[in-house]
Symmetry: D2
Subunit: 382 residues, 4 copies
């Protein structure tokens, strides 16, 4: 297709961290273009942000509603190809639903929405509209995570027995929500929803387990805690998992794990071997062989699976990292849009991005963990 895909962004204006990340990730392959935006829920901030981002005045909108209206009124060939939603959690549902219902493709930050009820509405909207929908569970964009998935799916690890996933952070160890904008909305039930650490980072854990192993949950047992006085949501979570195949799991995430930065990591133990991956050193993936040496697979090599190779742009030893993984979500999402525009069915590799169903499962997981954490029942059925 001989043109760049054009997109608009909702949220992500001045002072936003994740908005800028989305823009870099979207633009990395040089094949998309930011042309419109409603960059804040405060119209003046929205407009100011848009000007900074060199958005043309007529597509610099004061609200997402205005953007929806404005874009629909443009000639079909000059509308945005997709919308990118990067607002706090409570602002995901309404614009996503509206744009989907208008037939527009949507890519959106996680967790998807605030309740399973909302999730079902989005599923219906996606299914009805036929629009392409993606959720930016960005960690599944890493090439070596794709390799891990390939190993489990292809049987390299045998039957899966145990999964351990961790997401330790320490940045909320003190009560910084009074001063820090990022902390403020993430610990505020009105904007973050019913969960704190669980929604923010625990949802990545659930998605990573699901993406790599495909195991289905049977029941869970959660301990949810808030360490920082007067904080309204959980900042430390541990969950025991039981899967339908008999496997056991363990998930913990914390935002009070002093001095930890962002080391999301996973270990999967099977009957034939095990794997280990760490987000802070994402270019390697370990295979532990019960009968031979530990093997360190490295990104970019020809011995990797097709999905892992497709997700790597640089040769071995030239490390890729957070942005590149994030860009891979956009790459598959936009390649799927391009396939649709070209009238062809996207390939399995192109369709490799988090869907509305993954998002709904994540929302259900948050609900279940919060219920279990507050309940007395040992094992809460999935």
């Amino acid at each position: 297709m001989n043109r760049k895909l054009q997109y608009g962004q909702i949220g992500g204006g001045q002072g936003s961290f994740i908005g800028a990340v989305h823009r870099r990730a979207a633009g990395m392959d040089g094949k998309t273009e930011l042309v419109a935006g409603a960059f804040s829920s405060t119209p003046e901030k929205a407009m100011a942000s848009g000007r900074e981002l060199l958005i043309a005045d007529e597509r610099n909108y004061g609200s997402w509603q205005a953007m929806l209206e404005g874009e629909k009124n443009r000639p079909k060939s000059d509308q945005i190809d997709f919308v990118n939603i990067v607002t706090p959690n409570h602002m995901h549902f309404a614009p996503a639903l509206a744009f989907l219902q208008a037939g527009l493709n949507v890519i959106m930050d996680k967790p998807m929405v605030l309740s399973s009820e909302q999730a079902q509405s989005l599923i219906a909207a996606v299914e009805t509209s036929g629009a392409v929908f993606a959720l930016t569970h960005n960690y599944t964009g890493y090439p070596m995570v794709k390799e891990a998935r390939h190993w489990v799916r292809s049987g390299k690890l045998g039957e899966i027995n145990k999964v351990v996933v961790e997401y330790p952070q320490g940045w909320l160890l003190t009560r910084m929500e009074d001063e820090n904008k990022q902390a403020a909305w993430r610990t505020d039930p009105k904007r973050a929803g019913i969960a704190g650490a669980m929604g923010d980072i625990g949802s990545h854990c659930e998605n990573l387990v699901s993406y790599i192993t495909g195991l289905e949950l049977e029941s869970i047992c959660a301990d949810l805690h808030t360490f920082v006085p007067n904080r309204q949501l959980d900042d430390d979570v541990t969950v025991l998992l039981r899967f339908t195949n008999g496997a056991r799991g363990l998930l913990w995430c914390s935002q009070i794990a002093a001095a930890e930065e962002n080391d999301l990591n996973i270990r999967v133990y099977g009957s034939k071997g095990s794997l280990e991956w760490h987000q802070e050193t994402p270019n390697t993936l370990q295979f532990k062989d019960p009968a031979g040496p530990v093997q360190i697979y490295k990104r970019g090599n020809g011995y990797l699976s097709a999905a892992a190779q497709r997700a790597a742009q640089l040769p071995p030893g030239h490390p890729e990292a957070f942005y590149e993984a994030f860009a891979n979500i956009f790459m598959n999402f936009t390649d799927t849009i391009r396939a649709r525009l070209a009238g062809r069915e996207p390939s399995e590799l192109e369709l490799d991005f988090p869907t509305v169903y993954d998002g709904a499962q994540g929302v259900k997981f948050i609900e279940k963990v919060v219920a279990s954490g507050h309940g007395d029942e040992k094992w809460l059925a999935w």
Copy 2:
């Protein structure tokens, strides 16, 4: 004291792994001497093992009862100074009790005994006899574990919020108990007691947490599982922990974690910083500082605590490992005996070895985890 301490060993004959480890560890400083033994519960094997170990015929006993009798009949100055018990778990209690009641010092493998009732009897015997008693929770002999304890106790980490301890092994992934002697008794309730992985390696986890943090348990919630068909005891355990100070904990151990070797490890998160230690790379200990770089403390350096320095014989960069840590348990145990023989009070540093009270706590922990694992109550009170 101008002579070597003399000791006898119970168990640890031909084919034993841990018996040989104890002998090396005991002998490492050149200040103890193995002079007697009842090296097997089968008299012929016991005698054959003793001959291999160059034990004089008159002190090469066919049973521990014979050894107790034989040594008591020797002149006081030529009796053994302590007995070292390295039998399977079910054979710990009887000889330990008998030797203690005879006033002899005892060092013994873990877990201490099979029940809290037995544990109380041993406590009484120690208190009544005044004998020195030690349990070989050998991992607390590592210099950097002693440094970790020092950090927590001296307040370097602040208030402790979270503890994560793991002990992944993979050697029992298949049903090898039919062929392998080590596997056979560890999976046999008659010899191992009520717990498998939990008793064998989970007990080290509990002891490590207790040694380093000193936290007291409030309640636990366990998931106990046996993956290998027809195995009689657990081979995979996960436990949520709640401590009386409000801290949360997480303990998991497994013997079906494919291709894992012996990486007991612990992370402790406090209000001022956190620590991390791994048994497979035991010469380093990480301090993670919320306000500065991660610090890697290395064994043998002058900036370490007195306990960590005392436990290291070699200069920095000359690594010490499993045997040396094990030897440190013996060093403190025998130095305490020497102090007593010399009529002086042992120092705090000399008394730094696992006691009968630690052993009793370990036994209680095993009982509680098994009860929780089989029960429906979410939080089982400690």
Copy 3:
């Protein structure tokens, strides 16, 4: 400045690795735009590449001469702001000189040119024109390399005694120059110049040492070797270094170091401490303190120097890598251009990119190493 900087590229067309890297790096901050190009020395390939890159026909040139001519004929306000040269080495000099002489800003791949004579001509052109010139010694764009430089320059390491720099690669272990385009020109004296591994990767080593330490060479002693039969240039190089302050150095690079990928690394030993950095794990930098624990500094933290902080876009624990480092060279280069366009003096932080003088020193280093490698004199004066 309320517009994107526009640039043209010379070389970097279909099948080029480094051309695509430059484009991603240039575009990462969303503030530059590729608008013109002469993407190959073969006009048809050039045009085909340009069409793929969505270049407008009138600025899709068949040769760099045509591009120079074409751009000069455009209204000043619609000319390119800089040219980006990514050809093989032998094609650096002519276009760089021509564009500089036309007053255009130039950013170019390394090694700069084929001889010190050419280097002097470029220096003269830069000085005469006042154009901004940068060389993409991309590894100095890493935040933690900037931190390392800060440490040495600010005295944290004391007087520098020893420097060890390595660049092991294994991709040319066999004679792949017959099949592989990248290998072909790098081993061909007509296109690569007088050096093989030394020019390609050894020049990065020299630049890294110079950037971090600022030490001046006094003399060198080189062993230059070609392992692969019939290869025309060196594929393995070791150089002893003596610096004017009395420090000793050691530089080795190889393209036959089997299975090594791209682990450029450096260790600097001073009178007060030492540092170590590895390109394959670029987000950390070690400080080794003679009197305390090893310290692992991590990218993105507030305790780092201004230069290191400016070079990092993501928070701690969200790794950045090769592209981001490369983009930092472009960021400082383009910020310097913007400062000039805005009529202000660029700051020291903005001017932090490799200059024409660095390039000339690199060329001299290549010449000296080749001379020493072929000579009998032990120490070749700098």
Copy 4:
């Protein structure tokens, strides 16, 4: 053989580091016994040390000459089986020669002697007497070093192209020879010989290369330097190596590499793959495969070579370290003595310890490096 081997020690008395190491290493398997000694060149110190070590008065000698005399006068069956020499370098030759000439087996610290002339005399004495002689190049006792040797010798790496060996230390960064006994003799030409760092640690490098690769030197080019003012011997050494098969090598060692501890390490690059080993993490050995993942071989596993398995006492994951490696030198040395006593030929595995020929090569290497370091010739022929 149904008794412990008995040995005497020369040197290694109070305050000695290496003397105590030798005793622990010798005693680790419980099959040797220290029964005699001349623990210092000062008779009073010698006797005091012997008493501390619980040596019987009649075998606690005031000089090595007295020991030789005293032991020769004992009944053959009650003489020492070997002598263990741990004096400073200048005191190696005389006792070694005398004991060998008396037909006694000798194990001795490195570097062997002070000159090639002395080395030739020792060779003659060994050959004439038929005594067993070993040098404690202890680092070759590590199981994973034996595995590395196996790989090279068995062709796993193909033809060897390049060897890089390093031994960085920082403990002599300041002029501590005035206060520290270990530093004093190592920097004193009268006791250490013609080389400082080169003799002390560089000799281990040479031996490690030779042990693993078996390559023969063709020529060398050395840079020898003394950084600390008024120090009499080198404290920093870099040597380029050329081997007869065309391979290139690089050896550097330093005692002024600030804050480095003892990380002797080696990388060997072949035509089929490469290996890497580090003394500070000795339980692993990397194999880097040009066509597959990096492989981490771990000590204690059944997939290792016979030599590596024989050298490991503990199961996988139970780390062994410096003492255990040192003990392996003693194990093979004493097993060879036992074989001789039993009238059988020692096996190849038993004979795996550093010989008098290895020692002579080490002395020659020191002489050549010093000559090259002081000379103007670029390549000094071997």
